[in-house]
């Protein structure tokens, strides 16, 4: 027995020696590479959440098409702003005014069209332009004063929330401006872009051939694909592409990783950061406009606390609070976790009050996990 083991041991020792000599070119397994990616934590988290809800709510209809559409829409709304927040965080800045911007965008769209008799397309354009100007102002103040973006955007969080309330009560004597839905519906372009769902033919066909369930009258159980989902995917694909493939994406990482270094190698730090504040404001406005078009009214409390949810989604998705690291795909999975948990919990026997507890725990877990993964990925030799 011992005679056979000793040559084998010698053999392994030789192999080990050879491997050590060649340490610099050792191949990392694909698994190892995947684990070290920023979005790994959120993908693992998404799987965990699906498994949990599969166990506790598997037969409740949560995973039927209508249930899926429910949580997918929640994820999509959040996903849109998470994409913006994620890019901005990678560039090393925060925007706490996202939530207030959503409410303000809704008012900028609703008030001119309802009370000043602007055509709806013009007021939608006005909302986008207004938000982007505000985003620019956020960015300009941060870069100009060199104050932390946390403080500057915190100020705007209150300013914009307050203005939303002021506008609403001034014009309509209430915190809600209603009737915008019909206005949107009367404009073919605006309603085609932002209202309701699409691909009705495809869903009807899927129902006919029996892939999706039918209502008693033969209509498909879900009329079509909600446009907010398409917007989410479009934003995610564009932002993900820009971040990972373009020059500008490399600038985002450089600026967030070390802004002095970025300046020294000739990256236009100011321009990069300000344009990302504008992009984040654009995302918030898109959220606001889609919501107003869908719900049919603008309200002063729209988007409350959404800035935190967006940041949490980005952090679950692997973004580093100090910048320089993160992924758009990760932020999207972070948003998906939100949607599944928020809606899914009502399908289970748990009290839905547990939703925030669960999310807080998820956030803590994600941060710890990401910290561990990152220190592994950049471990100094």
């Amino acid at each position: 027995m011992s005679a056979t083991t000793s040559p084998m041991q010698a053999g392994t020792r030789e192999n080990e020696a050879a491997m050590q000599a060649d340490e610099r070119v050792r191949r990392l397994s694909r698994w190892h590479g995947f684990v070290n990616r920023p979005e790994f934590g959120s993908i693992a988290g998404t799987m965990l959440v699906f498994v949990l809800f599969g166990i506790f709510a598997g037969d409740s209809g949560m995973f039927h098409l209508d249930g899926v559409m429910n949580w997918a829409q929640v994820a999509a709304y959040l996903g849109i702003i998470a994409v913006g927040a994620c890019l901005l965080m990678i560039a090393g800045e925060f925007d706490l005014s996202i939530g207030s911007m959503i409410g303000f965008a809704g008012m900028m769209m609703a008030v001119p069209s309802m009370f000043l008799h602007w055509p709806i397309w013009l007021s939608v354009l006005f909302a986008f332009a207004g938000c982007m100007v505000l985003g620019w102002l956020n960015g300009y103040l941060v870069m100009r004063t060199r104050l932390p973006s946390f403080i500057v955007t915190l100020a705007f969080m209150f300013i914009l929330r307050g203005l939303t309330l002021v506008l609403s009560t001034y014009f309509s004597n209430s915190t809600i401006v209603s009737g915008v839905g019909e206005k949107v519906g009367s404009d073919p372009v605006v309603s085609a872009l932002f209202q309701g769902s699409t691909l009705h033919g495809v869903f009807a066909w899927l129902a006919r051939v029996g892939i999706i369930d039918k209502l008693p009258d033969g209509e498909p159980i879900v009329a079509g694909m909600p446009k907010v989902l398409l917007w989410w995917w479009l934003m995610a694909i564009v932002a993900g592409f820009v971040l990972s493939r373009t020059r500008f994406g490399n600038w985002i990482f450089t600026v967030g990783g070390d802004s002095a270094a970025a300046q020294n190698v000739g990256v236009p730090v100011r321009r990069v950061k300000i344009s990302l504040f504008v992009f984040t404001a654009f995302c918030a406005c898109l959220f606001g406009v889609l919501q107003v078009a869908d719900v049919g009214s603008a309200a002063a409390d729209r988007g409350l606390q959404k800035e935190f949810e967006a940041i949490i989604a980005a952090v679950i998705g692997g973004a580093l609070l100090t910048g320089g690291y993160g992924s758009v795909l990760g932020a999207c999975f972070g948003a998906l976790i939100f949607g599944v948990v928020q809606i899914g919990i009502s399908y289970t026997s748990f009290d839905s009050d547990w939703y925030r507890v669960f999310l807080g725990a998820m956030l803590l877990l994600a941060v710890l996990f990401n910290h561990y993964v990152r220190s592994r990925a950049t471990r100094s030799r």
Partner: protein, 265 residues
């Protein structure tokens, strides 16, 4: 008297004042083509101000700055860079969380057209070039996609130098490149300076370590309290004299004696 053509970079009687503080006084520094010129001085000698003047961060309060014999006045470091004067500061301008390839080309990304339409960063090209350029400098990395944070201090220094050379530096200003490094890594950086010189690049090597400066340097300028104590060729002075001048005389004699004793033993 040598003609001006021999010098790629000259500071002639340059003074720099910050309010009442005289940071540099009547300093003259002349860099020959293809030499390694060591700038020695203790903390507070004015090395940083001198580097920043050369790099275009400060402009001299008095005196002349000549590049290729022509007087220049840089408004920004970018202009110095356009003249081929690259400065590698101690912080190296590297982002630890980003990959080697992305760092190498940060701010100067190679671009190709995707489907002949959309401009994207040519990451394959960046990876290939950065790996090649590092290999030329004798640094072999696991992968150009590894994070810079995984590299050692010496490797990072080499990466920053290789990057400056790749982007057309004629003059390389190295700010204390060996300050934070161990013996072996310092040795690698010295080798790298030698490689750069062999490729015709002129180097200003700032340090306070004579043991690093003497083996690699062709000429030496000593700074003390904002003033130049003169420039010397290597054959004009021995390492001991250099050490002596650095320390400013008697107080270090005993240490020098000890060092000589150790060398003899």
């Amino acid at each position: 008297m040598t003609s001006n053509d021999d010098y790629i970079l000259q500071l002639e009687n340059v003074s720099k004042f910050f309010g009442t503080v005289i940071a540099l006084q009547e300093v003259t520094l002349r860099l020959r083509r293809g030499e390694v010129h060591c700038l020695l001085g203790d903390n507070g000698a004015g090395k940083s101000t001198l580097i920043k003047t050369l790099a275009g961060v400060h402009s001299p309060s008095r005196g002349r700055y000549l590049v290729d014999g022509k007087e220049v006045r840089f408004a920004s470091p970018r202009e110095a860079l356009d003249h081929g004067i690259a400065t590698v500061y101690q912080d190296l301008a590297l982002v630890p969380l980003m990959s080697v390839a992305r760092n190498f080309f940060a701010g100067r990304e190679p671009v190709r057209k995707l489907l002949g339409l959309i401009p994207v960063m040519d990451i394959a090209h960046a990876a290939r070039v950065s790996e090649e350029k590092l290999a030329e400098m004798g640094i072999h990395i696991r992968s150009p996609h590894q994070a810079v944070g995984t590299m050692s201090g010496g490797e990072r220094q080499c990466l920053a130098i290789a990057r400056a050379i790749h982007f057309g530096a004629k003059v390389l200003i190295l700010d204390e490149p060996t300050a934070a490094l161990g013996v072996k890594q310092s040795c690698n950086v010295l080798k790298l300076i030698h490689t750069a010189r062999a490729r015709g690049i002129s180097v200003i090597f700032i340090t306070h370590n004579v043991h690093h400066a003497y083996p690699i340097g062709d000429s030496f300028t000593l700074l003390n309290r904002g003033q130049s104590m003169g420039t010397f060729c290597k054959d004009e002075l021995s390492k001991e004299t250099l050490l002596d001048m650095m320390a400013g005389g008697s107080e270090i004699q005993s240490l020098v004696a000890e060092l000589e004793g150790r060398a003899a033993a």
